[in-house]
């Protein structure tokens, strides 16, 4: 491939301004997390059958999203960071969902020969 040597190092990366998140935002997220925690506990005391797990996990996912977006600055991060986060969640879901596919369908079809 054609190249040429240059004296000075060319501008490779633009200087990104460090984004300072205002303290009220952090406090807001904190209180949301606290409320979410109390809500998880209180709702768990009510018998919703199968929906208990769904509600608890929904609140947990919401809390985690707040931590990721604000405490971990992903909202203000480059696209690549966001891609890495999404990839991680996606791969975890591959593991959980396809294994579940086996666990849930074992009785669907017989075994050859029986």
């Amino acid at each position: 491939m054609s190249t040429h040597q240059v004296e000075s190092t060319p501008q490779v990366h633009t200087k990104h301004a460090v984004h300072i998140v205002p303290v009220p935002v952090y406090l807001g997220v904190f209180f949301a997390l606290v409320i979410g925690t109390i809500a998880t506990w209180q709702i768990a005391l009510i018998d919703l059958g199968r929906w208990n797990a769904v509600v608890a996990l929904t609140i947990a996912v919401t809390k985690a999203t707040l931590v990721v977006l604000f405490f971990m600055h992903v909202k203000y991060s480059p696209k690549l960071t966001k891609l890495v986060v999404v990839a991680g969640i996606f791969w975890l879901l591959i593991l959980l969902s396809i294994t579940e596919c086996d666990l849930l369908t074992r009785t669907w079809m017989g075994v050859p020969g029986r």
Partner: protein
């Protein structure tokens, strides 16, 4: 154009930049770390080969007359553990990848040089655990550690082996992490993704698998250790556990692991084919995307190892379809390589001999994988020698041939020396012939029903087994010869110039061997990769 007989410059290279053990053991130079890895993995390759020799010796006769069954179990287990975790998985990434990725992208080093060195030390510690297991009684669970045998019933060194593999896994993760960050953040100005050499794409895809898959097998090993120590019942049916769950967690990594083993070799082949046909690879973009496609789809097919495990038949069908789909990107590569060669100016150098061998053998290995991906056929073929032959065709006929091809191709760059051309070609042919004699009869054996992991077999299978064992001795010879002449070349080989093959790529524009910082000034890339114009080939080595 530089001639190859130019004497090596008196300038300092990475080899002469500091002498003594400490300068090597505390280096942060990616090139020196690559050499450290090269030495270690070669050591483990020969150890794994010794276990293979024991296996083939025993199987030359139908009766179990050389080894007891328990000892034989340890032989194939240790052969698998050593070859997979301590040779194949690190092989190309940790040696050629470590050495070449920074120069190929115009960088001075990887993103995290000290983590690179740490990854080697971690590998060595894992290796020491494995050596400890070998000398204190071995492991007999199969490299696959299936439960509940490994968790409850085996009385061999399961815990120590598990710890060794757990540790080696971290080495793999750190290498992958380093490559991903390096390739994203340290490319030279002008080096966009689609100007990258295909070797870099291949290692990037490999790194994706290393970081996403290895942690799962790591935590699975933790669970096996917990089960073995505390009997919580997680994989023991007697206590309510599900052995198939172990297999899911294990193969979630171990299937993508085979793509860790083959993708870098495919990257090597792309480089070799283009250099020795003087052509840009046909369908560069397709080859690049297919590497990533293999990495992604490779994570969706693990259940094809569980077809007869009592996994749900419905899930088996899903995995079967996905396993057929995952073959497509590999096939795309094979078609692209052969199209590159069509009407190209082919030079039959040693790396090219290995590469052509790779294409043929990998194709056979890959196609036989499709036989196994078919649910119905797998019921007949699974746990037979057909499977053994299939994976050796891809792992040895594919991955190892690719490794040898790359080692020969970049040997002049790494050492500044050429190796003797005649001996290297003779060895390549011996490897090819020995390999086929060893493993082709095993397809027939498997189809006829000979089970794997057995040290005895019915007398009617002996002919094929003897052919296979004979082939193994030839293959072993074929591996020994390069070891000898490559070592010889370090002192007596003809000095090599920066670009003995007339190849394109940034790594061929720096001296052989390169200086520690690779480039005095960061290059700026203005053209596409593989800009071949009928350049002279200076060496036919």
């Amino acid at each position: 154009m530089l001639t190859a007989t130019q004497a090596p410059a008196k300038k300092e290279s990475y080899l002469t930049d500091g002498y003594g053990l400490k300068s090597w053991l505390l280096t942060s130079d990616h090139k020196r770390i690559a050499i450290l890895y090269l030495i270690s993995i070669t050591f483990f390759f020969f150890i794994g080969g010794l276990f293979a020799a024991m296996i083939r010796l025993e199987l030359a006769t139908p009766a179990g007359d050389l080894l007891e069954s328990d000892t034989y179990n340890k032989m194939f287990t240790m052969h698998g553990v050593v070859m997979i975790f301590f040779f194949l998985i690190p092989s190309i990434p940790a040696t050629l990848g470590n050495f070449l990725i920074p120069p190929m992208i115009g960088a001075k080093d990887l993103a995290f040089p000290k983590i690179n060195l740490l990854s080697w030390y971690i590998y060595v510690v894992g290796g020491i655990f494995t050596l400890y297991v070998m000398v204190t009684g071995g492991l007999d669970t199969g490299w696959t550690f299936y439960t509940p045998f490994s968790t409850t019933y085996s009385n061999t060194k399961v815990m120590a082996a598990a710890v060794g593999i757990f540790i080696a896994g971290f080495s793999s993760i750190l290498t992958g992490l380093n490559f991903i960050v390096t390739i994203h953040r340290m490319r030279a100005p002008g080096l966009s993704w689609f100007r990258l050499p295909l070797f870099v794409w291949a290692n990037y895809a490999t790194a994706m698998i290393q970081i996403l898959g290895t942690p799962v097998v790591a935590v699975t090993i933790v669970l096996v250790a917990m089960e073995r120590g505390l009997h919580i019942g997680i994989f023991d049916p007697a206590l309510g556990g599900d052995p198939v769950l172990f297999q899911h967690l294990f193969w979630f990594y171990s299937h993508p692991a085979v793509y860790i083993m083959i993708l870098p070799s495919m990257g090597v082949i792309s480089e070799i084919i283009s250099t020795f046909t003087r052509r840009r690879p046909f369908g560069y973009t397709f080859i690049a995307f297919s590497s990533v496609a293999i990495a992604v789809f490779g994570f969706l097919v693990w259940g094809h190892h569980l077809f007869v495990s009592s996994q749900s038949v419905y899930a088996g069908m899903v995995f079967s379809v996905l396993s057929y789909i995952v073959a497509i990107p590999s096939a795309i590569k094979v078609f692209n390589w052969t199209s590159t060669m069509y009407k190209g100016s082919v030079v039959l150098s040693t790396p090219m001999l290995y590469a052509i061998g790779f294409i043929g053998l990998f194709t056979i290995g890959g196609l036989t994988g499709l036989f196994l991906a078919c649910l119905g056929m797998d019921v007949h073929l699974t746990d037979t020698y057909f499977v053994v032959a299939h994976f050796h065709y891809v792992m040895v006929g594919g991955a190892i041939m690719g490794y040898l091809s790359g080692l020969h191709f970049w040997w002049p760059k790494m050492t500044g020396r050429m190796y003797p051309a005649l001996w290297s070609k003779v060895a390549a042919v011996i490897v090819f012939l020995g390999f086929n004699l060893t493993f082709f009869p095993q397809f027939i054996l498997g189809f006829l029903g000979m089970p794997r992991r057995y040290h005895v077999y019915p007398p009617e299978f002996q002919v094929y087994n003897v052919l296979s064992s004979a082939g193994a001795s030839i293959l072993g010879l074929g591996y020994l010869i390069p070891f000898v002449y490559l070592m010889w070349s370090l002192k007596y080989g003809k000095p090599a110039g920066p670009n003995p093959w007339g190849a394109t790529g940034l790594e061929w524009q720096i001296p052989s061997p390169p200086p520690t910082e690779n480039f005095e000034v960061t290059p700026v890339v203005t053209g596409e990769a593989y800009e071949y114009h009928a350049q002279e080939v200076v060496e036919v080595g």
